[in-house]
Symmetry: C2
Subunit: 131 residues, 2 copies
DNA sequence: TTGACATATTCCCATATGGGAATATATTGA
DNA sequence: TCAATATATTCCCATATGGGAATATGTCAA
């Protein structure tokens, strides 16, 4: 079995760095294909192909105006990604607190009664108490 | 040029759904390979290979204990993903407000003075005022 | 040392990829 | 109708993929 198709979901579509560049660029304002080509210094067929992938997974919307196609990021399609990543927010917060607490404990072992590193109990002790 | 390697960054590593499953599972608690195999109903070699990818991009940490290898999600490595997605938060908020405002406007056109859909100005009018 | 258990690696393969180059399609204005 | 412009598609190709099956490596316990 090969890798899942780039058009299978937002996760796969967004794995390609140039597609993230395009999404960043199209978030603020709709743009024609040629504007993307010029601004991001990519080949036109390459841009068209990336836009096709992004459109297939709903990450961009298109509008025709004469000869031009105006693309724009559909930010809402990025939400699943954001929500999945948010799931881990409490864990990296936890990790940061552990590191912080370790450093404080180390500091207090060095100079138990030094006024510079004395620290009363604070909300960080939430993490110190468990494990 | 083929697709960028799965081990090239967190974005590519996380594009594979089973790897996301593994990261979810290992976020709360470290687990041996066999625990992953049993809990997620995957083949052992498959799990080992996915773990290799996740380890290569720093998404998991490992610890050996006798015959067992205990893996755990390194949540911090997911932050770049979260931060990139967060960039778009204000855009999807904006889009939602536009839709909401449109609906409200439509409702008020239907029954201009109906008490059920009357709505005083609120913070949503932030979006109505521009464009 | 040997056997059992835990995990990792290797080999095979069908498949989708992204870039480059060339070409096709669509739309406008004359 | 035709030339110019804008965009999309096609073809070619080297390459990494993930699963399955088989096997290798590592560690313990007796």
């Amino acid at each position: 079995m090969p890798r899942a198709s780039t058009t299978s979901d937002a996760f796969n579509a967004v794995a390609e760095p140039r597609r993230r560049d395009i999404l960043n660029y199209l978030a603020l304002q709709e743009r024609s294909v040629n504007e993307i080509v010029d601004s991001l210094s990519m080949e036109q067929p390459s841009v068209s192909k990336h836009l096709r992938v992004l459109k297939d997974v709903g990450l961009v919307n298109v509008r025709r105006d004469g000869r031009n196609m105006f693309y724009r990021t559909n930010a809402d399609a990025i939400r699943p990604l954001h929500e999945w990543a948010s799931t881990f927010e409490r864990f990296w917060r936890h990790q940061l607190n552990q590191i912080k607490n370790l450093a404080e404990r180390k500091a207090n072992e060095q100079q138990p009664n030094s006024p510079t590193n004395f620290k009363p109990r604070s909300k960080n002790d939430f993490d110190r108490d468990k494990n």
